[in-house]
């Protein structure tokens, strides 16, 4: 008697249905990693009471794979990728945006000052005007840096956003596991103490007090 005929028709239909469902979910990209263990448990029911050597080996492999997946899920959850998405990456991109804005603002200020100097140079004797003009030209050349650093920073921001999307996929796939881990391991936020707690600047625009606020504290 073959192994196939050892299964009842009902069992075979159920197994076929299970496999069809699995295939459909794989094709539709609708299979979450956390569902694999459950699937393996379901498949193992079709092994019968006296599985063959091949079946036993296959089951052993599946069981091992299931264990690896469980361990991996737990390890990934312990890394708290939700924190990376919710806190670290947005903070990093905000800081980078602030750098671009600040350097752009400073560059415009420098260019305004150079414009004023050039204007002033027109009132000078030719020899002196030439010195001023030469100096302002060097400043214009140096201001190239802002465009380059801006473009480089934009590339880094794009890379961070790409990482954020991937982490979001990870958070979606392991959401339940992460929530379980977070509930079981409430974050012990390491708070800085004493003077160290005061070192968290520079603040982003609107996140700190203004000089006027500070002045008011002294009045």
């Amino acid at each position: 008697m073959s192994r196939d005929t050892a299964m009842s028709k009902a069992s075979k239909d159920e197994l076929r249905q299970l496999l069809n469902d699995l295939r459909a979910r794989l094709d539709g990209d609708d299979l979450k990693v956390e569902q694999l263990s459950e699937l393996m448990d379901q498949l193992s029911r079709f092994m019968g009471d006296k599985p063959s050597e091949d079946q036993q080996r296959l089951f052993g492999e599946l069981d091992e794979l299931s264990g690896i997946i469980r361990k991996m899920k737990s390890e990934i959850a312990s890394l708290r990728p939700d924190d990376i998405k919710a806190e670290y990456i947005p903070n990093a991109t905000d800081e980078l945006d602030a750098i671009v804005d600040a350097t752009a603002g400073a560059t415009h200020e420098i260019l305004d000052a150079m414009d004023a100097l050039e204007e002033f140079a027109t009132t000078l004797p030719p020899e002196q005007a030439e010195i001023v003009t030469g100096a302002t030209m060097r400043v214009y050349e140096a201001c190239n840096f802002q465009d380059i650093t801006g473009q480089r920073t934009t590339k880094v921001i794009k890379a961070l956003k790409s990482i954020e999307e991937r982490v979001e996929g990870l958070v979606t796939a392991f959401g339940d596991e992460i929530a379980k881990y977070a509930a079981a391991n409430p974050r012990q936020k390491k708070e800085a103490e004493g003077e160290d707690a005061l070192l968290n600047g520079p603040q982003l625009e609107g996140k700190g007090v203004t000089q006027a606020d500070i002045d008011a504290m002294f009045n």
Partner: protein, 128 residues
Amino acid sequence: MAVDPNMPILIVDDYKTMLRIIRNLLRQLNFTNIEEATDGSMALRKLREAPFSLVISDWNMEPMTGLQLLKEVRADAKLKDMPFIMITAEAKTENVVMAKKAGVSNYIVKPFNAETLKGKMKTVIGDF
């Protein structure tokens, strides 16, 4: 033939700081008739509306890049001979090759200095 310092020049960059830097450098080279555009589409519109003697364009812009602008210029019967200098941070060989294939007159990599700009302009429009 001497280059007319009053020749109209179109500078194209999506980054206003860069437009300002190029404008000031050109002014120091005694070129004062300078028009600006902040992307390829705006530049193309301006080129079709008024005569220009030189285009100095960035590459990386949206929605129309400097390379697309260059191709449009070269494909336009009235503009195809327009001197066109690309100033860009794109410094890979394949970029330069692509721009040359598209008919760029010269190519400057950022950051650049006034001497380089002057040298490339001389190559393209003649001595000044």
